[in-house]
Amino acid sequence: MFYFAPWRIVLTSLICLAGVIFSIPNLFSRAQLDSLPDWLPTQQINFGLDLRGGSHLMLEVDMETVIKERLESQVDAVRGALRAKQIGYTNLGVEAGMVRVDIRDAAKREEALREIRALAAPVSGAGMFVGAVRDIDVTAEAGGRIQVALTAEALAERKRHAIAQSIEIIRRRIDEAGTRDPTIQRQGEDRILVQLPGEQNPDRVKRLIGKTAKMVFRLVDPTATPEDIASGRAPAGSEILESDGRRADGSAEQHYAVRKRIMVAGDTLVDAQPTFQQGMPVVSFRFDSAGARRFGDATKENVGKPFAIVLDDRVISAPVIREPILGGSGIISGSFTVESARDLAVLLRAGALPAPLRVIEERTVGPSLGSDSIAAGRFAGAIALVLVVGYMIATYRLFGVLATLALGINMALIIGALSLLQMTLTLPGIAGIVLTIGMAVDASVLIFERIREETRAGKTPIAAMDAGFARAFATIFDSNITTFFAAAILFAMGSGPVRGFAVTLGLGLITSVYTAVEVTRLIMVFWYRRTRPRLLPV
């Protein structure tokens, strides 16, 4: 161990120095750091939501609805193809996740099969060869039945698309609501993770993303009697919908019989703004040119009749058309508060979600608990440091001081690495660091105990130190790598705060082994060269 190549001395010193330099910014406030020149490291540890406060929302996209809608559009396509060729059919519909149809005329079955097969389209992004994978499998069954199944690739593509679209719309809604630094990420097959740091109101965000926001304009069915509506019986081609306004007990204020046919769809809206009309909050909207034309035609034909503005199958309001609305803009007045008018405008501007979203996990930590946790973690860490250092110096005296120095460098390396790599520090993560304080000295202990044994066996200081390091190394490596397995598995399987624990525990193991075998050794070499003791103080 006596020979330490110069490059190794330089490298070890540089690594220690880097650890110290990159951990220093954590001693200052953000404002102080911002006033420093750019070339200085100013990155601080990135605190997790459990320490700085904030919300973690896990959303699930309702894929059943996505697939159902995909199948329904396939039904429409089949219907269109058969009608165009005037092929008679019955029982067209969805059954067991497939579209099925019975062709009445046996002579036309071949043609029908051909026409339906022609509906197949290549799945985009499914492979290298365009058209290699089709979106549907069409099979002919006995009795003139034709079945259309979506291929696995088509389903996967549809789901991918639904997630991407949902993320885009959530981002627009959350941004428009004035949320600061949200993180929106895809998680697995059908989930989206939304993280809102700091003191923010997760309930408002939950309300904003809890609505699909499909808005349509439909005519009210005037033939339905109040008795029909009360008993929930709708005339053919209509359905009974609840009003959006709720009574105190949560039941609907009113019910309407509304025609199923859509007069104008909300996807033709280009703008929506909250505003006031006669002192009441309302939402003004504007159509694009196609939507404006359709809305104009529809209102022209139905002057004097009521129509319903329907959002997610609930009637917001049902005004009577007084005159044709030709300008392509209008106003929705309902029982709005200032905030609900503002939220509806946000929803309409951001567009509709492809499928409903559900909040399946929420974890919110208030800022007061977060700062309490940081303070508690710091204090516990300081106490642990004092206790461990006291113990080490009491049992090993001079070598204890050396171990303390190594421990200090170890801490600097952990904090420096966390700051530099911008890994997230969580409350269990702080526990991981404090635990490292206790476990890190183990490597030093193993080395010192070895040196002590070798000294007792009669070896000279140099030989004892040499043998101590050499023999302890295999043990240090084996014992730490097994603990590292536990940390790695925890990192792979865990989420959020627990993953933060795995990060600091694993990082602590790496820095502990490194400081023990390189830094402690270097310190001891320098100490020995300076003092040349005849006996080791072990």
Partner: protein
């Protein structure tokens, strides 16, 4: 030279001779934990059961009884209330009913409405059934995988006997710690799983150090019988084992006392686990080696010469 020592130098304790006492004690600990789990069950947190947990802090003390009545009026099913971190703190837990998916989000809103907006909402957690089932599955899988990975590594680095003992003792430490969760009514949540894995990682660390010394002594003292080798190895590493456990316990103790209520369970579990792990490394792991076929590969047939240089370690 005066020095503060906890352990006598050159100890020569007959650990192997006392192994039956150690085995009985270990099995008793496991049985007590097992009985507690069977009778009381584990107090699963909402991470694993699903449901809602809300922690609030007020300026003045809570009237828990009045609050309970108020929340019972919401018809949310089973609602538990308790003071948390003093009389000004309140912890509300709503048990999940059925498997309704977004009921939790609604329950959060209604509890918040009932408690009023002026309180300091320190923590709000709502976990749906899909998530809680996954967390439980992942937690069990992680623990099993960690113990297996450790055992396989030890098997490769040493011999199969050591791998098997690593599996048995690490598995034992995890199960015994788990039992203590039931004995002391500690909430079993995601952080508890992290604690179990920490215990597994810590305990194997200790055990490997002892195994390492046994391997070395098997080569060094080829003619010594196995019990003497084991005793010698445990005694030689005893001072290190106790010192490392002491510093780790000091750190965990600091966490337990000052680390705050949020991770109290985690710290308590690690504290117990470190004690159990240290005990099993010193008294149990090595002594069990006597009951397995002798590790031959590490110990080539004894040669007559004494004091020879041991052959280089393989691998």
């Amino acid at each position: 030279m005066a020095r503060f020592t906890l352990i006598k130098e050159n100890t020569n304790i007959d650990f192997v001779g006392k192994r039956l006492i150690a085995f009985v004690f270990s099995i008793l600990l496991l049985v007590v934990g097992g009985i507690a789990v069977a009778l009381k069950g584990l107090d699963f947190g909402i991470d694993f059961t699903g449901g809602v947990m809300i922690e609030v802090q007020a300026k003045k003390a809570f009237d828990v009884a009045a609050m309970r009545e108020k929340l019972a009026g919401l018809n949310l099913g089973e609602v538990q209330l308790q003071n948390f971190g003093g009389p000004n703190g309140l912890l509300v837990r709503v048990q999940p009913i059925g498997r309704a998916v977004d009921r939790d989000a609604a329950a959060v809103l209604r509890v918040k409405e009932a408690l009023g907006p002026t309180l300091d909402y320190r923590r709000v957690e709502a976990v749906g059934p899909a998530i809680s089932a996954e967390l439980l599955r992942d937690g069990i899988l992680a623990t099993v995988l960690a113990v297996l990975a450790i055992a396989i590594y030890v098997w490769f680095r040493f011999e199969w006997q050591f791998g098997l003992l690593a599996l048995v003792t690490t598995g034992y430490d995890v199960l015994a710690t788990l039992g203590l969760f039931a004995v002391f009514d500690l909430e079993f949540n995601i952080a508890a799983v992290a604690a179990l894995l920490t215990v597994a990682g810590y305990s194997i660390n200790d055990t490997v150090v002892v195994f390492d010394r046994i391997r070395e002594n098997l080569r060094k003292f080829r003619r010594d019988p196995l019990p003497r080798i084991i005793n010698r190895s445990v005694n030689e590493t005893l001072s290190r084992t106790i010192r490392t456990s002491s510093t780790t316990l000091l750190a965990v103790f600091a966490l337990l006392m000052f680390g705050g209520d949020v991770i109290l369970n985690f710290n308590a579990a690690v504290l117990c686990g470190v004690l159990i792990g240290t005990f099993s490394s010193i008294y149990v792991a090595a002594a069990l080696l006597l009951y397995l076929p002798a590790p031959k590969a590490l110990r080539p047939a004894a040669e007559p010469r004494e004091g020879e240089t041991p052959p280089k370690a393989a691998g």
